[in-house]
Symmetry: C2
Subunit: 395 residues, 2 copies
Amino acid sequence: MKQIDSLIATYRDGLLHDTLPFWIKHCVDREFGGFMTSLDRDAAVIDTDKGVWQQCRFTWLLGKLYNNVEPCEEWLELAQHGARFIEQHCFDPSDGRMWFHVTREGKPIRKRRYAFSESFAAIAFGELAKASGESHFAERAKQTFERFVDHNLNPPADESKFTETRATRSIGFPMIAIATAQELRESIGLEAANVWIDRFIDDIQRYHIHSDIGCVMETVDASGARLDHFDGRLLNPGHAIEAAWFIMREGKWRGDAELIRTGCQMLDWMWQRGWDRLHGGILYFVDVDGKPVQEYWHDMKFWWPQCETMIATLMAYTTTQDAKYLQWHRLIHDWAFSHFPDPQHGEWFGYLHRDGSVSSELKGGLWKGPFHLPRMQWMCWKLLAEYEDHSVSAS
Amino acid sequence: MKQIDSLIATYRDGLLHDTLPFWIKHCVDREFGGFMTSLDRDAAVIDTDKGVWQQCRFTWLLGKLYNNVEPCEEWLELAQHGARFIEQHCFDPSDGRMWFHVTREGKPIRKRRYAFSESFAAIAFGELAKASGESHFAERAKQTFERFVDHNLNPPADESKFTETRATRSIGFPMIAIATAQELRESIGLEAANVWIDRFIDDIQRYHIHSDIGCVMETVDASGARLDHFDGRLLNPGHAIEAAWFIMREGKWRGDAELIRTGCQMLDWMWQRGWDRLHGGILYFVDVDGKPVQEYWHDMKFWWPQCETMIATLMAYTTTQDAKYLQWHRLIHDWAFSHFPDPQHGEWFGYLHRDGSVSSELKGGLWKGPFHLPRMQWMCWKLLAEYEDHSVSAS
């Protein structure tokens, strides 16, 4: 790999001198606490409401960088600022579940039937426990993770969006459970992490990995069978590729070549299905049989599938040295960097048309915030730095 | 208006020789009843599930044409075929509410928190009551309309998607209530129709028509005030233009010039906000202040906003003879007819990119079915025929 130092600089400096300052400068709410992440192109706040996912994810990012890059007091102070808002305003005291969307002051607007807020709160508390040394946060992290797992394994029957006529499984829960347990193993040494990770990797292998057609299915029936309906045929390649690197990362951590092969196989299949041969970039949704998709934004290019694919291809290359992955990483890196960054105001656009033209100049909202882009920059920087160290020490 | 006969032929023949045969030939389920409206470009069924909205809407269309075009036995038989499936499979016996999505056999998959299925069932039963003379259907129509209104005026507190922190009003309920009452006044002579229509026009005027900025607001707070958040700023010009012609139609029916002016005013404002000066066609969503919109498909061109705008502009022209509306009708007619029809397999595409290129070749799904396009063809045909008759008799 040539020009590795220049590539490291792209990711590292993008993170530390563009993405992080963009959010630190513009989203911190000193009046009511927490973060206002709904930002216009020029970083003006265009909605004062607060998405709970983004409160938790930014708190996680700040703690992660404090623990892994440098012990910068500003990052720790901001992570504590985020955690205070989460603890004070993002839990529903009536049932202990978390909200999804609150007002600037922290009054609840909406709770969702699923519990991903809890998974993001768990990793935020975990990094803060490590950064601050306060055992209170470690306990919170563990509790919130257990709530997340329990809510998904034992969903309240009366809260389901669907009847029991056609029970389905989605890959979202097991993959996020794996990533959450991995984070908590690293931050607070969660004892049960490996047991949960084994279980959820097994679920993905058993239900979602369909070797007969070479595909990672997003949604299947309760037994893992494919459903010949819109939802059952719908693939989300960027999501499956994100799951692929969670599993590859587990293989690297354990030194388990079989898990690395599984992750690479998932990436191989979903790159073939998701890469847009016409315009480049990873498509949002595709149908497993190539039929029309019912979701309106199926052919758009969102920032996060590109970020996840950049991580997965680089992890696959630095782990296996298979030149195919280096080529794919270059393709996705070049496509993303030539379409998403905003040269005028910094950070990335989030929502492009299929051809790469900008559909919305929004920098943040309930869905986009300081997470997929800075996590990608941090992961790619770290993967390259490790690879460089390893190459030097091996030579 | 030149070439009026040719324009009548476009709408009439499109309805009777393209749209209607497309659906009659391909969506009727003789094995399990009802209609399978999830059709691929070439009309192949790509999902056997049944959307309740589409069961009701096609039943309504068939009854409407039987009652207004010609007493074609096939249309009546198919309307009865639809109504049987609706009565047998689309109501939840546990609470009397309707489902939103059922399997081919009629087993429930999903109920939504709102109750639009009920409004479409009401107009279907109404037309069938008129067509068949069976009083049973008239009773069903009345009951279902009352359920629809009651569910929306007295929503179950535990079913809300949002907390009470920020109560909102959407234009969807009052506008559909007006159109439903208008249909039932015509089909079954619903006695309470005018009282309900008065009330809901008043609601729209009081809460959604914001003269100070020249805009029909889609969502406002409980008092009608604008909300400076993503949802509060979000305009749906095609939806507001549909509401405009419901109110214009009421003005015509009553001979009330003030209501006609209100409808035209709504159309004027929302044409200016929704017409895409770059590519033509009506945009799906725009922000009232021109800020970025959070909904991903905001700049796409869906078939239905174009259909509703064709009806509204033609109704405004034939009612007021203001040449501006004739010009707008030509613009929207020409744009729609040069982008949506599928010359190879018939009917219209539903989902185009902003520039008019096809995003999805889907002919039908849970959302698109035999409704907006054939209703537009029927309404435009009728408006032109009435206008021609009037011009002839006046000369």
